[in-house]
């Protein structure tokens, strides 16, 4: 047997050329298109993943916006409730204040009326007391209405402050002595003597009759006065009673 060397060489050439041709026209393009498709697929997958991410983000944003809206609504609701509550409370407070004010007004009116009544009653009581005292004095001897009060007058003078007494002691000063009835000479003398004793020097004494005193002696000067009469006592009593009434409640 003998090999055909020309065939050998030509076949070698043919096979090598075929390898190159197939690599050029078949295998490389197919491999390239496969790789390209793989890339495209991976790119598509990436795109899909990106799109999914975006969608998720959008959904999250929407969720957030909804939550925000919910929150705002809840806040608004809460605020409205709060406002309403506040307004109601304010209204209540105003109403309460109004009621209180009215109540106070009524109370004041009531108080004023009561006061007025009290005053009237007291005035009546004072008049009644005066009348009773007058009636009682009528029964006493007439001298008692003056003489019994001389000592009181002297005491009243002594209770005056020293400066006032000094002014009284001034010789030029005229003293006004109020009496319930015209004095007898003995009574006048007794009064003058008592005053002279009390002040230490003779003085000019004017006498005026004021039957409202009921009984007692009152001394008046330009600067001072000594109330020493049944009327003044009654008036003082009345004032004290009124004060006590006012202080009691």
């Amino acid at each position: 047997m003998a090999l055909d060397w020309w065939t050998l060489g030509l076949q070698t050439l043919n096979v090598l050329v075929l390898i190159w041709l197939l690599s050029r026209f078949l295998l490389k393009p197919i491999a390239a298109i496969i790789a390209e498709r793989q890339q495209a697929a991976s790119r598509l997958l990436d795109d899909a993943a990106t799109a999914k991410d975006e969608a998720r983000q959008i959904r999250d944003a929407a969720e957030q916006a909804r939550a925000e809206a919910d929150r705002q609504r809840a806040a608004a609701l809460h605020k409205a409730e709060h406002d309403a509550d506040l307004a109601r409370r304010q209204r209540l407070q105003e109403a309460g204040a109004e009621i209180e004010r009215r109540h106070q007004q009524a109370q004041e009116a009531l108080d004023a009326e009561q006061q007025m009544l009290q005053t009237a009653i007291e005035a009546r009581a004072g008049q009644l007391a005066l009348a009773i005292a007058d009636k009682l004095m009528q029964r006493l001897p007439a001298s008692a209405r003056v003489e019994g009060f001389i000592d009181g007058l002297v005491e009243g003078l002594e209770t005056l402050p020293a400066e006032t007494r000094q002014t009284l002691s001034h010789p030029g000063v005229s003293l006004l002595l109020k009496v319930p009835r015209s004095l007898t000479d003995a009574e006048h003398g007794a009064c003058s003597a008592a005053l002279q004793r009390a002040l230490g020097h003779p003085l000019k004494l004017e006498v005026s009759v004021d039957s409202g005193l009921i009984a007692g002696l009152e001394l008046e000067t330009e600067h001072a006065a000594v109330r020493n009469s049944l009327r003044a006592d009654l008036a003082r009593l009345e004032t004290e009673m009124t004060l006590n009434d006012l202080q009691r409640p």
Partner: protein, 231 residues
Amino acid sequence: MNESPLLTPTLFHAGPVPISGAVVVTWLLVAVITTASWALTRHLSLRPGKAQCVLELFVETLDNQIRDTMQVQPEPYRALIGTLFLYILAANWSSLVPGIEPPTARLETDIVLAMIVLLASIGYGVATRGVRGYLRTFAEPSWVMIPLNLVEQLTRTFSLIVRLFGNVMSGVFVLGITLSLAGLLVPIPFMALDLLTGAIQAYIFSVLAMVFLGAAVEAHPTPKTLENKEP
């Protein structure tokens, strides 16, 4: 029957060069395969048609086979292995066309294919490990194995040649005998068997080429057996 299957008859002379039938058939096959692949890959798109699907399936299967058998990336070996498979398949099946004898039934073509595999294994081995590294693989596991490894290189190449040649040649031989005995319809089962044998031999040749290349490239070759491989 007087024609020896071992001799390659010269078809004609191109100048001083004798052109045999195997060379002419190979030229035809090269032209047909190239034209077909050019036509099929001219309009590739990301949305594949049927033809493109088939081609992509073929290439992906090829890549997977290379990856499984050689444990390497298929890029550098795809062209060699794919061309070997496609060419042997086309050559074996070319016997279906009346009057054409498959080139692989001639000893020269098989020698060429096996020598290309041998040289490629040497070339890829040297490219991967360097000259010294490649030569050192012959001394594995010990220097005693050097002659045995050298002989193995030759014998496996020789067995590659004879396996392909014997299978295809015997098919052609049996077909010729059958045709000379009974003309009509009787050769059809033999032709079908030839188709099967041709496809299987193309696959086996490619897988063995992968195993040889892988053994030359790998540090510690773990040659995959032929089980679990799709033809």
